[in-house]
């Protein structure tokens, strides 16, 4: 009782309370007060989430800080929060980026401020709920709730094509998630009564949406059902990640969204897709996961290389960063579907890294955009001379993004590649080309923006990053160095969660770690007709 049991509730709903406060207490004109309340609430939320880092006990039970309460007892859905190492890191990332995105919006957002901060805070509650929920219905509620404020953030405060981008984002991600709901229902009924008309017998357990219970029945789920449910989950999560070829909403949404929206979108929202895979698909559907490996790896590798190549061709800095996300998330997926401890921990760490570095890049692009109202690379050149501090910050984040040793990106990518190499040399080689390409497009962009002579008149009088802007970036940079120099605490917190997943998905790997299996890419397709599909009736 008390502090520990309610800690997650406090973290999750504090932003919502802040939003209600702004709605009901403050008037539209009180711009300063609105900003103050939003900043204080977001800051406080980050502060109360820090104890998770210290109090989460990696040696303890799987899900900690659990809070469970009856919600819809008749269908077996409960209000169930709890976190493991993976969610702890993602929650911390969310509260940190939430705070930074509020703090960074002061000058970027000039109209309809009240609604803006309300939506930003509501969005944060939605995202935190996703990472905390251990009940499928609760998870799904948060998963979808969060679409609405994001729709408004893009649609109201976005760029010229905001209306198109907003509805595209909304519908695209919605289509994926509704199919996921069908998958959830199928699992739910398999656990209890079965699906009568297609002759699938259930296990006869009490009906429940409790994920931790469903984990325990995972090995019993028949092959055909696993395949279809994996497919349903895949659509939902892969669109969110986004994996190639479902990535087309991302550049539109990123480019049109306001800076803070992009930071949240890249930093946290995309992680919800990868989190979904690692939390639900892998441990609930181990057989299907193993069979999907070649397909998933292929998509991940295509994403890595394709994203990098497309990024290289971009003229717009923000679009370049957006495509680089496709590439980086490909890495995350590569590590995850290596299905070994190295790959998985690298994968989660890379989620954090991507949140820090890409979040930072979007902030930096936003700073420049506020000054010149253009994001075209060709409109700049030589601005390192007039903005030295800004150029230095940009350089550090760029290096973090391309994976320079001593910075976070290196640790993540390196661990992922170890994991991938362990499975197949080819995967690792192809993945590594992504790193090379990443260095190429980032450095080339950096060179064109910052070095050379200033050729455009307006650029001669650009103001350097001010103190507030610097402070939005400094926490990110500190973290980049921390992970880059001393990642051990991160791995320590991730290890038990990751080991559990590997145990479910591929226990044989853990039993024989000394002799890693050679390339195990199974030749047969996972789509080998399942015994009984749900389509038959």
């Amino acid at each position: 009782m008390g502090f520990f049991t309610n800690l997650l509730n406090v973290i999750c709903y504090l932003p919502l309370v802040g939003a209600l406060l702004i709605i009901f207490v403050l008037k539209r004109e009180q711009s300063r007060a609105i900003k103050t309340v939003a900043t204080v609430v977001a800051g406080l939320d980050f502060a109360v989430s820090i104890p998770l880092w210290f109090l989460y006990d990696p040696a303890g039970p799987q899900f900690q800080f659990a809070y469970k309460h009856d919600w819809i007892p008749s269908v077996g859905s409960s209000y169930y929060f709890g976190v493991d190492g993976i969610s702890v890191l993602l929650i911390l990332l969310t509260t940190l980026l939430g705070f930074i995105s509020v703090y960074s919006s002061f000058t970027a957002i000039t109209h309809r401020e009240k609604e803006y901060y309300v939506f930003l805070l509501v969005l944060q509650t939605g995202m935190l709920g996703v990472f905390m929920s251990l009940d499928f219905i609760l998870f799904y509620v948060f998963w979808e709730v969060m679409l609405v404020p994001m729709y408004f953030l893009i649609g109201v405060w976005g760029g010229p094509r905001k209306l198109y981008a907003a509805i595209k984002f909304f519908l695209y991600t919605l289509v994926g998630s509704v199919l996921m709901l069908v998958g959830i229902l199928a699992l739910y009924f398999y656990n209890s009564t079965g699906l009568a008309a297609i002759g699938l017998k259930g296990l006869g357990n009490a009906p429940t949406f409790d994920v931790t219970h469903l984990f325990t029945i995972a090995p019993q789920i028949p092959h055909g059902l696993q395949f279809w449910v994996f497919l349903a989950f895949f659509v939902g999560f892969a669109i969110k990640v986004p994996m190639f070829p479902f990535h087309t909403w991302l550049p539109d949404a990123h480019v049109e969204a306001p800076t803070a929206g992009s930071v949240i979108l890249a930093g946290v929202l995309l992680k919800m897709g990868t989190y979904g895979f690692i939390r639900f698909s892998l441990p609930l559907l181990p057989n299907a996961t193993r069979e999907a490996v070649p397909w998933m790896i292929a998509l991940a590798l295509i994403g890595i290389i394709y994203g990098a190549l497309v990024a290289m061709a971009q003229k717009d800095v923000k679009k370049l960063v957006a495509y680089s996300s496709v590439s980086h998330l490909g890495f995350v997926m590569l590590g995850m579907f290596a299905l070994n401890p190295q790959g998985l921990s690298g994968s989660v760490l890379q989620m954090i890294n991507h949140g820090l570095s890409t979040g930072g890049l979007f902030l930096l692009v936003g700073i420049l955009y506020e000054r010149r109202h253009t994001r075209m690379i060709s409109d700049y050149g030589g601005i390192a001379k007039v903005m030295p501090v800004y150029a230095m910050l940009f350089m550090i984040i760029t290096m973090a993004s391309i994976g320079l040793p001593t910075l976070n990106g290196f640790i993540g990518e390196f661990t992922i590649l170890i994991g991938a190499f362990d499975r197949s040399t080819l995967w690792a080689v192809l993945g590594a080309t992504g790193i090379v390409l990443g260095a190429a497009y980032m450095l080339w962009m950096y060179q064109r923006v910052f070095f050379g002579e200033i050729t455009i008149e307006e650029n001669k009088h650009l103001k350097d990053a001010n103190l507030r802007e610097q402070w939005t970036l400094i926490p990110l940079i500190v973290l980049c160095f921390w992970i880059g120099l001393y990642p051990k605490p991160f791995f320590r917190i991730l290890e038990p969660a990751v080991t559990r997943i590997v145990q479910t998905v591929d226990a044989s790997y853990l039993q024989a770690p000394a002799a890693p299996a050679p390339a195990t890419a199974p030749a047969h397709a996972p789509a080998s007709a399942p015994a009984h599909g749900p389509a038959a009736h």
Binding site: Y140, A166, L174, V178, H537
Partner: protein, 483 residues
């Protein structure tokens, strides 16, 4: 006989008060709008009190009037739902009638008579009784659809509704007569027993098919939906609101009772018919709504689509399916009345408020009402944390459990499509601002605002904490078969 009349008390109360309101309308007077409106609402409240009292006294398993009339929990649930929907629709009418200067007496009494028909439908356990209730409801609604005599569109609506409605009633009757001819009974319990004993000749199946067509017409399912957009567009908006929830829910009530009760043994014969209609309804309702610029037409197609979702519960054919349809109708009633309330709020003599672009920029000038509309649109689209999501969740769960995964996949994809047109309104309200948006001043309509507010709160409460409400629907189910 006394017990029979006692069970009929709510209907009797409503009939007497409806006549009183009709006569009161002749009196005229300066503030007759207020007086008659209050009288009609009070009449509904009184009926609800009578219902609560009677339902508490009567044994749900007993039958009245020679087994033709039931007051089981199923009937009570639907009666309460009808009274709620009618009361909200009447509250939405008050300012509207005054603004359009039409006589309120006949209007209110016709709405009450339609409700009376619905109450009888919910209780009927005999096909003849059900048909009588249906016709009372339908005839009153035909008149109401054409209530604005001076409006050409209203005329057109009434004529179309009447002609097609009469035709469908004919088809339904023909089907009933074939079923009666082959089984020799109109009583649902006897029917179920005789059908269960076996024997299903072609005439019987033809009869059931014709009945299905009639019922599908009444719930506005594709391909019997063509009347809906025109009627919904032409009818006075509060009547559109009423039609989209009251008569529709009543049609579902008899659909459920007749098909899961009387025709239950034939489920494998009619299931594919209803399932196919549900699939077509979901597809066409949502796709056609995408291109509508008139909000009433859009909501008409949306109501077609929702009938398609609700049919999933019937296709499932289980207790869970039944209770999920009931819960869904409750959710839909509240949400749709709220949405229509917003449309009504926007309508005034100068400002039609019927096209989507009329909603531009409303969020700035009327933040609370616009937020309500946002909630209703989310709820219709099935996005949490609104009631609509929970309604769909129960429905889809029932259908998945019964194994109709392909229908559910279609349903979820179509509800994603539906978000596009619901969000067209949201887009206009919230995302359009500046010079392009010059929202009109709204006319003061306190009751309309109260209805919107109440519906908005209800949508959120049911969405966040659906447990008790779902339980309400579930508790009403004693198996209909043989009851």
């Amino acid at each position: 006989m006394g017990a029979d009349l006692f069970a009929l008390l709510p209907e009797l109360v409503l009939a007497l008060l409806a006549m009183a309101v009709l006569l009161g309308g002749l009196a005229g007077g300066r503030n007759r709008h207020a007086v008659l409106g209050a009288a009609a609402l009070a009449g509904l409240a009184l009926t609800a009190v009578a219902l609560a009292w009677v339902a508490g006294q009567v044994d749900p398993a007993s039958r009245f009037f020679f087994g033709m009339f039931a007051l089981d929990r199923f009937a009570v649930f639907f009666k309460a739902l009808f009274l709620l929907g009618t009361a909200l629709a009447l509250a939405l009418s008050l300012a509207y009638l005054e603004r359009w200067k039409v006589s309120p007496g006949e209007y209110h009494s016709l709405v009450m008579f339609a409700t009376l028909g619905m109450l009888i439908m919910a209780s009927g356990t005999n096909l003849a009784v059900i048909y009588v209730g249906l016709e009372l409801m339908a005839l009153s609604t035909y008149v109401l659809a054409g209530y604005f005599r001076r409006e050409v569109k209203s005329h057109e609506a009434a004529t179309k509704y009447f002609v097609l409605g009469a035709l469908s009633s004919g088809i339904l009757l023909y089907g009933l007569s074939l079923v009666y001819g082959t089984t020799g009974t109109l009583d649902l319990a006897t029917l179920a027993a005789r059908l269960g004993a076996g024997g299903r000749g072609t005439p019987l199946l033809v009869g059931v098919s014709l009945m299905t067509c009639g019922f599908l017409f009444k719930v506005a399912a594709v391909p019997f939906h063509v009347w809906t957009p025109d009627v919904y567009e032409g009818a006075p908006t509060p009547i559109t609101a009423f039609m989209s929830v009251g008569p529709k829910a009543a049609a579902f009530a008899i659909f459920l009772r007749v098909y899961l009760g009387g025709l239950g043994p034939l489920i494998d014969d009619w299931r594919w018919l209803v399932g196919g209609a549900a699939a077509l309804t979901m597809i066409w309702g949502n796709v056609a709504a995408l291109t509508q610029d008139n909000v009433k037409r859009m909501l008409a197609y949306s109501s077609i689509a929702h009938a398609g979702y609700a049919l999933l519960g019937l296709v499932a054919g289980t207790d869970a399916g039944l209770s999920s349809v009931m819960f869904y109708l409750l959710v839909y009633t509240i949400t749709n009345l709220g949405a229509f309330g917003f449309v009504i709020l926007l309508e005034s003599r100068e400002f039609a408020g019927e096209t989507v672009s009329d909603y531009a920029g409303l969020a700035r000038r009327h933040p609370l009402a616009a937020f309500g509309m946002l909630l209703f649109m989310l709820s219709l689209g099935g996005i949490p944390p609104t009631a609509g999501f929970m309604g769909k969740l129960y429905l889809f769960a029932a259908a998945v459990q019964a194994g109709y995964v392909w229908l559910v996949v279609l349903a979820v994809l179509m509800s994603a499509v539906s978000l596009y047109y619901y969000f067209r309104i949201v887009l206009q309200m919230y995302l359009r601002d500046g010079a392009e948006a010059q929202p009109a001043e709204l006319v003061a309509a306190p009751w309309t605002e109260r209805v919107i507010f109440a519906c908005g709160v209800a949508v959120l409460v049911i969405g966040v904490y659906p447990g008790p409400f779902g339980q309400l629907a579930r508790a009403t189910i004693a198996r209909l078969a043989g009851s």
